[in-house]
Symmetry: C2
Subunit: 373 residues, 2 copies
């Protein structure tokens, strides 16, 4: 895999224009973005720390994007790849930064606000501009980053392929007799070996720990006869991977095989339901129906999937109530699971992208129940 070309100032300018236009189409006066994944996606700027000092990107249809930054962070902001497309303004400690941005926002209408903006800043803006309304980007422009262009898709496919290579090697390591944390460290090393610059999670849920879908990895020593959930991912060239396979130490019993088959069938059915125009909630329903009909519905305790891009969790969400239709270029996880408290869990997850013809998996390792040692 060769390295993708870096995004240019023109790429970022195009994204900012797209965001401002989408805001106008949604009836918003503009978009406000604090440090976090939206800001890095729109400008390439990723401050070294997210702090109480306001940094805010202001996008308005038909106007140049403005980045308000603390004076002492301005040199860093000016070094960002998207900086040439920005009008930069700064403020100093002791100034009121909310008053500083007020003239840019006017006093009418609603602005979309990046989800991760601190409440401190939103409340500061609301206090300064009581006539303005605000809506979270997930609510107001949920699909802003959801449809990936070809360059982004290539990066996501590369991240997925790298995660697959990591899986290919992890099934060869010793499980029985080692702690979950040791296998997790192996997984992190493999993700880095295959090009990830950031490891976000390396879940190793053995035996009863696998029944807690949010368990990471702990001191438990893996036993012969354990089912082990492996869920791992991170960022490679700035884009995310996230895949889950469930393996078994030694020969599995009948119930584990049965539960694994049900989850695999649910995952396959949801994958086959992917096509443009289908509502996100339908993907959840399809997976859930398979598991419910098999009698395990109450043990599938989370949604079926989430979007992925410059973060490993973002819209669109495959969850009941999400009416958003699928659009070619969207990328998200399909990850049904069954969790039997105190006993074991099974989850199978691939990243899938929507094409005009249907779904395409970005993870392509074997979904059978793999036996490890």
């Amino acid at each position: 895999m060769t390295d993708p070309a870096a995004f240019t100032s023109d790429d970022y300018a195009a994204r900012m224009t797209r965001a401002a236009d989408a805001a106008a189409a949604a009836g918003l006066a503009g978009v406000l973005v604090a440090p976090g994944p939206d800001l890095s996606w729109l400008t390439g700027y990723r401050p070294t720390a997210i702090t109480e000092r306001l940094t805010l990107l202001i996008l308005r249809p038909g106007k140049a994007p403005v980045l308000m930054v603390p004076a002492l962070e301005r040199p860093d902001a000016e070094a960002a790849a998207g900086a040439p497309a920005l009008e930069m303004r700064d403020w100093r400690d002791g100034d009121n930064p909310y008053a500083g941005v007020a003239p840019l926002l006017g006093n009418r209408g609603a602005f979309g606000m990046s989800d991760t903006t601190w409440a401190l800043h939103l409340l500061g803006l609301q206090r300064t501009l009581p006539e303005l309304r605000f809506t979270a980007l997930t609510d107001g422009l949920p699909m802003l980053r959801a449809v990936k262009d070809a360059h982004e898709l290539a990066r996501l496919a590369g991240a997925g392929a790298a995660a697959d290579e990591a899986y290919g090697e992890i099934v060869g390591v010793a499980f029985a007799g080692r702690r979950e944390l040791d296998v997790a460290a192996d997984l992190a090393g493999l993700l880095r070996k295959f090009g990830h610059e950031q490891v976000d999670f390396t879940v190793v849920g053995s035996g009863p720990n696998g029944a807690n879908p949010h368990h990471e990895a702990g001191e438990r020593v893996i036993q012969d006869g354990d089912t082990v959930v492996l869920d791992f991912g991170g960022l490679r060239h700035g884009y995310g991977s996230d895949t889950t396979r469930t393996v078994h130490v030694g020969e599995p019993g009948e119930e584990v095989r049965k539960v694994h088959d049900i989850v695999r069938e649910a995952q396959q059915a949801a994958f086959e339901a992917v096509r443009p125009g289908v509502a996100c909630e339908e993907i959840d329903r399809v997976a859930r129906r398979v598991i419910t009909e098999a009698g395990y519905g109450e043990w599938f305790i989370h949604r079926t999937g989430h979007g992925i891009g410059v973060t490993t969790h973002e819209p669109p969400y495959m969850v009941e109530g999400e009416k958003q239709p699928l659009v070619p270029g969207m990328c998200f996880s399909i990850e049904p699971g069954i969790y039997l408290p105190g006993r074991f869990g099974v989850r199978i997850e691939d990243i899938v992208t929507v094409t005009p013809e249907g779904g395409r998996r970005l993870n392509n390792t074997d979904r059978e129940l793999r036996i490890v040692r």
Copy 2:
């Protein structure tokens, strides 16, 4: 240095009661806390990831604290040290978590909201409970975590002493001919060697890079004759360190000596001004006056200090406009600097705590201009 005892469920219960009482005294109906430093300080709970799924601590005077968590994160939350003092409730994907907490909040009055709560969640609560008002904790209860008890002070003193030991060793390494990044890696290693579990920043600002107070460390190779700003810190046993010294590679010239003397004098004057009852802004003014009278006022481009505790940046802020009087037990930085663009910078920083008699430094290394090689 021996390890401090872990905080107990009773410690966390006492903090939550204190917070609810402080809210009542400030005329607030309660306090709402999302994952972040306030939540870990109040409950010991630090979720593995901060996500779009709502986790919210609800504190109301005279009522038991409630923690609303996503169902799949409940086992982790129940493992937190403060969990026995909490009433735990959960919600599942597809539920509306804002509607879930609404009955606990009523429809009157104002709630303090942790600064770092995502705008997504604040907007969700505002939409669900339009009659409620919200204020950031920094505005509504700015001093909630500001006054440290004896156990916290011991941890902060231990973190400061460990940072001082790191400084004691870093002045012995080679600077000239090595990249800033190499010296920064040495600093990170030393912080860990002396007991830090988390390194937050290792600024190495050599020559002109020292004139950018937010520069971290880069590829620049340090030269003989460079002034080098070293600003480093992190968490040790959960509490922060943060200290800055400016060193010189080889013999400094007259101007560097002069600027360093002015900054040292400003830092000393601000330290001597610390005593209970003095307003925070006065500490800033004292430092600024020294630098302004020496003719460098326009090159001191940031506030004089910030509080420190379970984070390395928190109230109280030593900044013009902050009228909060100092109270024994507060801990904050005093860190004046002079930044000459394109040339060099000087900053000197100690953490200081307020005692009934005045200030006490938690950093005690030499503040002279040290010559390194």
